[in-house]
Symmetry: C2
Subunit: 134 residues, 2 copies
C-alpha cells in the first residue's frame, strides 16, 4: 500500500522536492487516499537512505499546503478532508508557473494542439487505472 519512492540523486531537483512530487502524484493517482497513513520521518528516511530532516522538510511543506496532516504523536496522514480546492492564489501561481513553459514551447515550434495533447495525456495518465498492485 506504500507509495514507491524513486529518488534521483544526480538530479538538480532537490530531494525534498522530489519526495513532495511523488507523494502528490500518489494522491493524484488515488494510490494515496484521504486518511491514509504515511511512514514516520525516521522510517521513511531510513527506507530511502536519506536524512530525517530532509523527509521532515518535505512533510512540513506538504502540511503547509494542505496535502497532509501531522498529529503530534500519532503520525502523518493524507488530509482526511481532501486536498484544499484551487483558490485564486493557487490559480495565480499555476499561471505564473505555466507562463514561461508555454513561452518556450512556442519558441520551439510546438503548435497549440501539440501542447494541449501532451497536457491532456499527462492529465489522463493520472486518472487511469494502472493495473493496481495485484
Amino acid at each position: 500500500m506504500d507509495v514507491y519512492i524513486n529518488l534521483d540523486f544526480e538530479s538538480n531537483e532537490p530531494i525534498y522536492t522530489q519526495l513532495m512530487h511523488q507523494i502528490i502524484a500518489g494522491i493524484a493517482k488515488k494510490e494515496l487516499k484521504p486518511g491514509d497513513a504515511l511512514p514516520s520521518v525516521r522510517s521513511l528516511a531510513a527506507d530511502i537512505g536519506i536524512n530525517l530532516h530532509t523527509v521532515n522538510k518535505a512533510y512540513q511543506q506538504l502540511k503547509q499546503e494542505g496535502f497532509i496532516l501531522i498529529h503530534r504523536q500519532k503520525g502523518v496522514v493524507i488530509n482526511p478532508d481532501g486536498v484544499p480546492q484551487a483558490d485564486d492564489q493557487y490559480m495565480n501561481n499555476l499561471t505564473s508557473t505555466l507562463h514561461p513553459i508555454i513561452a518556450e514551447s512556442i519558441c520551439r515550434g510546438l503548435s497549440k494542439e501539440q501542447v494541449l495533447q501532451l497536457t491532456g495525456e499527462l492529465y489522463e495518465n493520472f486518472t487511469k487505472k494502472e493495473g493496481g498492485d495485484k
Copy 2:
C-alpha cells in the same frame, strides 16, 4: 524596440532565470525576431541595476539553449536561424516539468477541461497581437 524587463527582487526565482524567461517570452510574442540585437551585458546590467555577471549568466544559458548567438566582439543577437525546434530531449524535459504541475492541479480539483483551457489561453496570449508599442 527593446524588451521591457521587469524583475521581482522579492521572488525566490533567481534574477538570471527571470531575465531568461522574459527574453524567451519576447521571442514567443515576436517582439524579438531572429537577428534582433540585445543590449550588451554591461548596459543591460546598468539599465536594470544588477551585476554584469548576472546578465552574462542568463545570456550564456540562452546561448547554450540556442535562443541567441554571441559574436565575440560584435554583440548579442536573437538566433538568426530561429530557435532550434523541439527534439526528443526537449520533449522529455517538458514532460518531466509538466508532470508534477498537473498532478497538483488534479489534487486541487481542476478538471481536464479547466487545465486545457488555461493552457490554451496562455498559449494564445503569446500569439495575439497586443496593440504593439504605439
